[in-house]
């Protein structure tokens, strides 16, 4: 890798990190696992003046129970997330989607927070965070701590609500696992290591057969991850007959702005969103 020149900073605590970020100015970038930033540097698509490497800050890797939620530290690796008992129990959708990210080598380096802060609409985790109404925990030297709901966090194509001097420290995810809950991440891609052409993240809670809570997030169906709200509305309270499920899924692409690119046209993506939503819902409610 032959990146442009940058200053390299390696803080040991979150406090030091946010101070360094503030001092380094607008052209500083945070380096976590390097899953996305390294290719950008290698291709010289990013010219940061400084890199603040979070690798030495152990506390940002922690995953902990927080009552009715769990908190995943920003630099917890995908590998760590997939294997973590708290995540598997209380946010199984996160574990399932994370297991499909890239390949094993990348999953050992790439981080949960990094994937959200990078905000690539083709990334798997933004749609999951959105579906689960995650809250992103940010911190800066000037403004202290701030909580940003996922629906406000993803502002535009690869753009988040984070200020240049703000550091994503963790993600709080309301518990969505256990009795009554079902989940599924349907990822459609051409090869195992390729980005999702479309992905559907879905978590459903049923009480006595009727849908009590349904959350559907769509990957790569617009510049930012989106909720399939039209489907969610149609299924609220439903007993999920085959017909109802199919009818509701047909609305999956409503209100989306899917891209057309090498891997699929907008029309094809819309079709996939409908098919995959039906499949995700079917799988999530199979038991």
């Amino acid at each position: 890798m032959i990146p442009p020149t940058f200053e390299y900073l390696r803080p040991r605590t979150p406090d030091e990190a946010v101070r360094m970020l503030a001092d380094a100015g607008e052209d500083a970038k945070v380096l976590a696992g390097g899953q996305s930033l390294m290719p950008l540097l290698r291709l010289r698509l990013a010219y940061p003046e400084a890199l603040v490497d979070l690798d030495r800050i152990a506390e940002l890797r922690e995953i902990r129970d927080d009552g009715d939620a769990i908190v995943i530290g920003a630099t917890a690796t995908h590998h760590q997330v997939v294997r973590d008992p708290l995540v598997r129990e209380h946010a199984p959708l996160v574990a399932a989607a994370t297991a499909t990210v890239a390949d094993p080598a990348v999953r050992h380096r790439g981080t949960f927070g990094g994937s959200l802060a990078h905000a690539d609409p083709a990334g798997d985790l933004p749609a999951v965070a959105l579906a689960l109404d995650a809250v992103l925990l940010a911190r800066s030297a000037s403004g202290g701590e701030r909580e940003i709901p996922a629906r406000e966090f993803f502002a535009d194509w690869m753009t988040t609500a984070l200020e240049p001097d703000e550091l994503l420290t963790g993600v709080r995810i309301p518990k969505a696992g256990g009795p009554g809950w079902g989940f599924r991440y349907e990822k459609f891609h051409r090869t195992a290591q390729a980005w999702a052409i479309v992905g559907v993240a879905c978590a459903v809670r049923r009480v006595q057969g009727a849908v009590e809570d349904v959350r559907i997030g769509l990957t790569n169906m617009g510049p930012v991850p989106v909720r399939a709200s039209a489907v969610e509305e149609r299924l609220a309270g439903s007993t999920l007959s085959d017909g109802a499920l199919r009818e509701a899924s047909d609305h999956a692409a409503e209100g989306t702005e899917p891209p057309s690119d090498l891997h699929g046209s907008a029309e094809y993506r819309s079709h996939l969103a409908r098919v995959l939503t039906r499949r995700a819902l079917t799988a999530a409610t199979a038991r």
Partner: protein, 783 residues
């Protein structure tokens, strides 16, 4: 144990897979300077001005040079294959001077003390371009009034090459079945695991300057000669080393501008210079493969008996003709008839210039394209006349009693047994059972449909009899060289002119020598890939290594044994005719006790104290082998796919490959070659395509967009063999490097079309992406 036929794990693999070895980029002599290239962002433009002043002033920069700076000394990159007398051959400067003709063409270079400074300085070079009209579509490029890639040539057609045999008009006239199809062989990017790298180390000064050029190349010998021709540096002043090379697939069968420029820069600066490409740079600047539009017409009787075949090709040359660019599609000219009998054949190919990266040899080189066309046509014919696709092949193939067989394309197939390979494949595949399942899924209107694809193939390997190459106007011969040296201590050195870049020569060649000389495998060392060590060779491509180079070694071993026999007979005071040689030991027939090991004979030959009159000291031999004929591997591949009709996703459910590559030296290496070949052929069918946008920019510059499958995307292959020895060489070997790539692409596409035929689909363009399958299903009109 007999070494030939032994499934021995490859001795070289530990160092290759760990990377702790001599990759070119791992070599950095003291004082090495690093080169970076500025490449054209335009597909076609005039270069008005290149301002390098700011770049020159940057720290650590030693030199910044443009095409203009080097115009007097850089020469033109060679094309060794003048396929017709009037072939248009445009000058191809290593670095563009006045005009760029594809995006990625080098325009300037920076030489700096480190790679980072070189890359940084590139950004300070300012180039003014005047964009020119871009030619991208080869069918439009040959229409009247088309914009031109080379305005001075007055045409985009480089050549038209014609081959005709039999009375095609008669075959076509009143043919009960006439199938006309258009197939597109998409452009592919060879993706060797090791990107290109070049290091040139100068020694001495002035006219006595010597150069050692290390390159990740398949062809150190051809490269040395060509570098001398292009740069006018005397050939004996250039040594080319191909250290360990991490794959090529034809892409390193080339003389690249960066190799020529490394020599020139080392000469100018008097210091070692090195360049290593990035993957994205390589995707633009390594020659591409395939890229043909095929119009094919097949005439047959109502029972499926073939009458004749007409092939009209347009082949995309890209912007320039490189080493064998124009000849690649013509290697297919002799293969469109496949394994079948027919009365008439006509082949026409026009090579077309476009503003894209030049094309050249890519694994199979012309033969996969030809096999695809005939095997797709055989399936279309089967559907047309309502006969099983295996049966329609059976009705037309050359039967095993008919060999040697002179084909309609002018080759003589020496041996083969298509019946045996096909029967074995059908049994392993459980063909009838899968057909039953297919029927059942169709009846049930299962959203997941099953398709079955068949492909037979043969290919011409063992490139090549020199006189045949001469008749095709190729610029060199097709022989190969081997030396065997028995060292005084009894150990053995084998030198081969074949240049391994992942094929496992160090193991296979040692097995041949160990077997023939009766010495332990561990006692043999194989040397290759260095013109100072192996002065004669024609290198590695076209599945030629074993069938030509391996045979050279086999003969060299026998030659050395013959000499040892003379010495042994003298030592044993016996007649040569009474000596037997086996297990590394000469013994007198009938006299158990009397004998000598080959090591003892070697020692005597070294000491030379008591040799027969006229026998020279030392035990060694040289053989340069020129094959009499090509070899013709063949096989039958069967593929079952499951297609998700809702999404268009194709999953390979079962893949059976039965190949006949003749006798086998190392079954593990053969198996590895087949697996890799299958992966690459399947990749053409399903995944890979070099895509240009409307301005002529390559959009598939990274592996996120140019999809190369991994193990996770491929099924577990079932492979087996029949072994019909080649008649043309004493080893009975045929070559296996390209077999898998040739057969698998049509097998997969045939399977996809087979699955979709009830939906009115009769073709899906490659790569058969999920969206293309889905589109074909919609346009075919669902049942």
């Amino acid at each position: 144990m007999t070494e030939i036929g032994h499934a021995r794990p490859r001795a070289e693999d530990a160092r290759l897979v760990t990377g702790r070895t001599r990759w070119t980029d791992n070599l950095t002599p003291a004082g090495t300077l690093h080169v970076a290239y500025l490449r054209s962002p335009h597909a076609h433009a005039r270069i008005d001005r290149v301002d390098v002043e700011a770049a020159r002033r940057r720290p650590n920069v030693v030199a910044v040079l443009t095409g203009k700076d080097l115009a007097e000394e850089q020469g033109a990159l060679p094309c060794a294959w003048q396929v017709t007398e009037d072939m248009k051959l445009p000058a191809h400067p290593p670095m563009a001077v006045d005009e760029v003709r594809y995006a990625g063409e080098p325009v300037a270079c920076v030489v700096a003390r480190d790679r980072y400074s070189a890359a940084d300085a590139l950004e300070d070079i300012d180039v003014d371009y005047s964009p020119l009209p871009v030619v991208l579509d080869m069918e439009r490029a040959v229409e009247d009034g088309a914009d031109l890639v080379h305005s001075d040539l007055g045409t985009n057609a480089s050549y038209t090459w014609v081959f005709e045999q039999g009375d095609l008009d008669a075959a076509m006239r009143d043919a009960p079945v006439l199938l006309e199809r258009r197939f597109v062989q998409q452009r592919l990017i060879p993706t060797a695991m090791e990107p290109r790298a070049v290091l040139c180390e100068p020694d001495g000064s002035g006219p006595n300057m010597d150069f050692t050029l290390y390159s990740s190349t398949q062809i150190p010998h051809i490269l040395r000669l060509m570098l001398a021709v292009v740069t006018e540096i005397p050939e004996h002043r250039i040594r080319v080393v191909a250290p360990d090379v991490g794959g090529g697939f034809g892409s390193k069968l080339q003389v690249y501008g960066e190799e020529v420029l490394a020599l020139l820069l080392a000469r100018r600066l008097g210091r070692p210079v090195k360049w290593t490409e990035s993957r994205s740079e390589g995707n633009m600047a390594v020659h591409h493969g395939r890229d043909q539009v095929q119009k094919v017409t097949l005439a047959a009787d109502r029972d499926g008996t073939l009458r004749g075949l007409k092939v009209e090709l347009l082949a995309d040359m890209g912007a320039y003709l490189m080493l064998v660019t124009p000849g690649v599609p013509l290697l297919g000219a002799f293969m469109f008839n496949g394994i079948y009998k027919m009365d008439a054949y006509s082949f026409t190919c026009t090579g077309v210039f476009t503003n894209k990266t030049p094309t050249d040899a890519y694994r199979g080189a012309g033969r996969p394209e030809a096999t695809f066309a005939i095997e797709r046509l055989m399936d279309e014919l089967a559907a047309e006349i309502g006969v099983d696709p295996v049966e329609v092949r059976r009705r037309n193939w050359i039967t095993h009693e008919e060999f040697p067989y002179d084909t309609i394309a002018g080759l003589t197939y020496d041996t083969g047994n298509y019946e045996a390979a096909t029967e074995k494949a059908l049994a392993l595949f459980e063909y009838d059972k899968l057909r039953a399942e297919q029927h059942d899924r169709r009846e049930r209107r299962d959203p997941v449909q099953l398709g079955i694809g068949v492909s037979t193939y043969t290919e011409m390997c063992g490139l090549a009899p020199s006189r045949v190459l001469g008749s095709l106007s190729y610029g060199a011969g097709g022989w190969e060289h081997a030396s065997v040296r028995l060292l005084p201590s009894g150990k053995v050195e084998v030198v081969t002119g074949s240049s391994a870049h992942g094929q496992g020569h160090e193991t296979a060649w040692a097995q041949i020598a160990a077997d023939r000389l009766g010495v332990p495998f561990e006692d043999v060392r194989v040397l290759h890939g260095d013109t100072a060590v192996s002065p004669k060779g024609m290198d590695t491509y076209g599945s030629r290594s074993l069938a030509v180079g391996g045979v050279a070694l086999y003969r060299a071993c026998d030659k050395v044994v013959d000499k040892a026999r003379t010495i042994a007979a003298h030592m044993l005071e016996a007649s040569e005719d009474d000596l037997e040689f086996g297990g590394g030991r000469f013994s007198v027939r009938g006299v158990e006790a009397a004998g000598l090991s080959i090591q003892e004979v070697t020692q005597a030959a070294f000491a030379a104290h008591d040799l027969p009159d006229g026998v020279e000291p030392s035990l060694d031999s040289d053989v340069t082998h020129d094959p009499e004929n090509f070899s013709f591997p063949h096989g039958t591949h069967l593929c079952a796919v499951e297609i998700d009709t809702e999404t268009g996703f194709t999953k390979i459910r079962r893949y059976v490959a039965v190949d006949d590559v003749g006798n086998v030296v190392n079954p593990l290496i053969v198996e590895g070659q087949v697996h890799g070949g299958l992966a690459q052929g399947i990749a053409q069918a399903l995944y890979e395509e070099a895509v240009y946008d409307a301005d002529g920019n390559l959009t598939t510059t990274t592996m996120a967009d140019y999809l190369v499958p991994s193990a996770a995307d491929l099924p577990s292959f079932t492979t087996d063999r029949t072994e019909t020895p080649a008649a043309g060489n004493p080893l009975g070997v045929k070559g296996v490097g390209e077999a898998g790539t040739i057969a698998s692409t049509p097998a997969v596409v045939n399977a996809i079309v087979d699955a979709l035929r009830p939906y009115g689909v009769r073709d899906v363009p490659m790569p058969c992406t999920p969206e293309r399958v889905w589109t074909a299903l919609r346009e075919g009109g669902a049942r």
